[in-house]
């Protein structure tokens, strides 16, 4: 299992994380369903998590993986509150289309 560090340069993980992060950014701008926008945010968080893990493993330092653990806890809290807000929005205006949620837009 140690051989992956020898055959895969760290740059490949950086590139993969960049691709996944960009797909997440694209999804946030691409879709109008607020739940899918949330899922794309999760995708971006995961790209960053994977990059932190890769750096931590290549560097031989456990701190990076501890940070990933904290990011996962924060993501769980964020999703719980965010989905509760979405359900409440749906109960009030019967849609989760983000183009309808424009009351705060200048």
């Amino acid at each position: 299992m140690n051989s992956i560090l020898q055959v895969i340069p760290l740059n490949y993980y950086v590139a993969l994380a960049a691709i996944l992060f960009s797909i997440g950014v694209m999804g946030v701008m691409f879709r109008r369903n607020a739940i899918i926008v949330f899922m794309c945010i999760e995708l971006m968080l995961n790209a960053v998590n994977m990059l932190l893990t890769a750096f931590s493993t290549y560097h031989g330092d456990a701190s990076g993986q501890v940070m990933v653990f904290f990011i996962m806890a924060v993501a769980a809290a964020e999703v719980a509150v965010g989905l509760a807000i979405l359900v409440m929005i749906y109960n009030n205006i019967r849609t989760v289309d983000i183009n309808e949620l424009n009351k705060l837009k200048w």
């Binding site: 960009s22 797909i23 691409f30 794309c40 330092d61 769980a76």
Partner: protein, 165 residues
């Protein structure tokens, strides 16, 4: 067998399923593709020798967060394709903007020197090692996380109630 093959297979699967999350029409399909994407990312954790993170990732993301997403989708009955899509102009603009972001991200790391792999301590991802770090150096943040989770739980329950006065 080429030793780098697992990485490329997993990377292709992750990118493909991530694209399908964005592009699939039905929200439930998006959720299922996202679960698959999380499993491939878990595979990357295994490749990187981070067994503890693999377990936590599967339990928290595939087990808890995605179930929450699926539950919410079914709760508000979103399986139909009821969102009108954005106009093609906005879709093209979104794709181009994300492509520009990818270009910048790749360009800033292009000329960087590759960090040589330190292979002497390849067992840093084990449960015992990370447990020592969590309960030693990172004890305070670890305890603060519990307050954050409690606050989020109270907030979610309060938001979910029918009438809050």
């Amino acid at each position: 067998m080429n030793p780098s093959l697992p990485f490329f297979v997993l990377a292709t699967l992750s990118v493909f399923s991530a694209l399908m999350v964005v592009l699939s029409r039905k929200p439930v399909h998006s959720v299922l593709y996202l679960i698959f994407c999380f499993f491939t990312i878990g595979g990357h954790y295994l490749l990187l020798n981070a067994q503890f993170l693999f377990a936590v990732h599967i339990i928290v993301y595939a087990g808890a967060i995605m179930v929450l997403f699926l539950f919410t989708l079914m709760f508000i009955n979103m399986n139909k394709e009821l969102e009108p899509h954005k106009s093609n102009l906005l879709k093209g603009a979104a794709t181009i903007a994300a492509g520009c972001l990818l270009l910048v991200l790749v360009a800033i790391t292009k000329g960087a020197e590759t960090l040589p792999a330190i292979s002497k301590s390849s067992d840093i991802g084990t449960v015992s090692n990370l447990g020592k770090a969590l309960y030693g150096q990172y004890l305070l943040p670890f305890e603060l996380i519990s307050i954050l989770l409690l606050t989020a739980m109270v907030g979610a329950v309060m938001l979910g109630k029918k009438d809050v006065e």
